[in-house]
């Protein structure tokens, strides 16, 4: 049993990480909590479904989905969030409203039946540590790791990534060396959208596409970001591992429906004990200097 808990805990952590990465990235880079993340995630799911239904090859459909969802993210910033930028409460209300609109719009369109599901990338299974694991779940782990590496590379080794980090740390200094703040925020919303699309394409095949997943994704993203601390990739990974294993443990020893309580408990405990998160480094550094 221990072996299967270890393996499925890892799968769970990878799922959480894919779901939270886009939200956490947008939050870390532009300072805007994009509460429409769940809506964007489902948008990507339905988009991929319809593109595949149109008969496009799998690879092209996925690339198109990622690209269009990134554009959607950018559009959300350019058309709506830009007007309330800087007023935190309004940003939250605006993005939350967009998210709910999208989700309930899909419900209204009637996208709720069993036909809405995405295909596996690879079918089949193998046995590891006496646990049977299917290829899709193992691919999720690989993609989560690849995205983490890509993210580190992007933010530290490319000019654009550095500029986004710079804008997140000191807006006016970034402006003074010629980085445009709306450009940076649009970019970070687009990356957030692209990451949500990657997550959707990887994770949604595990079940049918369900409107309520959208709300759950938002809760997961929020829990992981709060637990891990802002703008810290290591914190994000650590938070995913903690939450992922905590879920497996609660659903093994208590009952599966307690799984959801783990997120809420994590948010509450972290906010009460260490509001900057496990590895929230901004405040820490300020205290040291």
């Amino acid at each position: 049993m221990i072996e299967s808990m270890l393996v499925f805990g890892l799968v769970n952590s990878a799922v959480l990480m894919l779901l939270a990465l886009g939200f956490s990235l947008t939050f870390g880079l532009s300072g805007v909590a994009n509460f429409s993340h769940g809506g964007i995630y489902l948008f990507a799911g339905y988009l991929a479904y319809f593109l595949l239904k149109m008969g496009l090859p799998y690879f092209i459909a996925v690339v198109l989905t990622i690209f269009i969802t990134a554009l959607l993210g950018a559009a959300i910033y350019k058309l709506i969030v830009i007007r309330v930028r800087g007023i935190v409460l309004n940003e939250v209300i605006a993005t939350f409203a967009i998210g709910i609109c999208m989700l309930e719009f899909f419900r209204w369109l009637g996208f709720v039946t069993y036909e809405y599901s995405l295909p596996y990338i690879a079918r089949g299974r193998f046995t590891i540590f006496e646990t049977t694991l299917d290829y899709q779940r193992s691919l999720i782990i690989v993609v989560a790791l690849l995205l983490a590496v890509f993210l580190w590379f992007f933010t530290h080794r490319t000019k654009t990534g550095l500029a986004l980090l710079g804008m997140a740390q000191d807006e006016y200094t970034a402006l003074a060396v010629g980085i445009d703040s709306d450009w940076a925020a649009t970019y970070s919303f687009a990356i957030g959208g692209a990451f949500a699309a990657i997550a959707a394409v990887m994770i949604l095949p595990l079940g049918i596409i369900n409107i309520n997943i959208g709300y759950e994704v938002l809760l997961i993203a929020l829990a992981v970001t709060v637990l891990g601390g802002l703008e810290s990739t290591k914190g994000l990974i650590l938070a995913c591992i903690i939450l992922g294993y905590a879920q497996v443990i609660t659903s093994t020893f208590f009952a599966p429906h307690w799984k959801e309580a783990v997120y809420l408990a994590a948010i509450l405990i972290v906010l009460a004990v260490k509001p900057s998160g496990l590895l929230g480094k901004f405040k820490e550094l300020e205290e040291r200097v």
Binding site: T173, G178, V289
Partner: protein, 248 residues
């Protein structure tokens, strides 16, 4: 090169800069001196376009009302309505007060970001090497996180960042603020190096003494109003100026 005409800036109804006329010619080092709240930083931020950005931002969220009146000309072109990154492209680069750096990035990455708008990586690397020549202490700190550097080191990084952007007109806002005399000497020495790069400099300072020997002309402002201007010699010969800004 830079020509500011009848500049007035209001934050709500408070007057920060009052009918200011100021010009900088190519190749000069010009100083603007004044006490706290004289409007020095507002002036610098306005020339760099940051005040305009702040104005749009505040307007967008219905906050403070900022009014900018008057003309700002750079190389014969009116830049009053240009965005900050447009102005950086034209060659106006500001190094803000209190040595702001990107604190979670390494020193090298900070300098890299200075060259954000420069397409050729080779040129950026050249400029970074030049900065290490001007500020040798930075060479040892390349991979240190900028937030953990001392104030003096951060000032060097901040000036370095501005230099990597290859300015025609470098704006230095209180470069000596809060630095030890040793660090001040390094920054003042750097000013000479910057002049030899044929970069025009407009700088502000509260306490004029360490910087005075290195400027060509100076402006003295009080409560946003220009009260005196002249060459270095004219300012040094004025007893009131001497007592107010040099502590003599």
């Amino acid at each position: 090169m830079l020509d500011v005409k009848n500049l007035m800036i209001f934050y709500e109804n408070a007057l920060a800069v009052n009918n200011l006329n100021l010009d900088v010619k190519k190749g000069e080092i010009v100083g603007v001196f004044g006490s706290n709240s004289a409007g020095k930083t507002t002036l610098m931020n306005t020339v760099a376009g940051l005040t305009l950005h702040m104005k749009f931002r505040e307007h967008r969220k219905g906050g403070q009302r900022i009014t900018i009146v008057g003309q700002q000309n750079f190389e014969g072109e009116d830049i009053s309505n240009r965005s900050p990154n447009d102005r950086v492209k034209k060659g106006i680069v500001l190094c803000r007060e209190r040595h702001p750096v990107f604190r979670d990035l390494s020193v090298e990455e900070n300098l890299q970001l200075g060259g954000f708008l420069i397409k050729e990586q080779v040129k950026v690397q050249e400029s970074i090497d030049l900065v290490y020549n001007i500020f040798p202490p930075l060479t040892k700190l390349k991979s240190r996180r900028a937030g953990l550097c001392s104030g003096g080191e951060q000032e060097m990084i901040a000036i370095g960042m501005a230099l990597v952007a290859r300015p025609k007109l470098l704006l230095l806002d209180e470069p000596l603020l809060g630095l030890s005399p040793v660090m001040q000497a390094i920054v003042v020495q750097a000013l000479k190096d910057i002049r030899s790069l044929e970069v025009t400099v407009l700088l502000t300072e509260q306490y004029a003494r360490p910087i005075m020997p290195h400027i060509d002309r100076g402006f003295i402002i009080e409560n946003g109003t220009l009260i005196m201007s002249g060459t270095k010699e004219e300012l040094m010969d004025n007893p009131e100026v001497m007592s107010a800004y040099f502590g003599m």
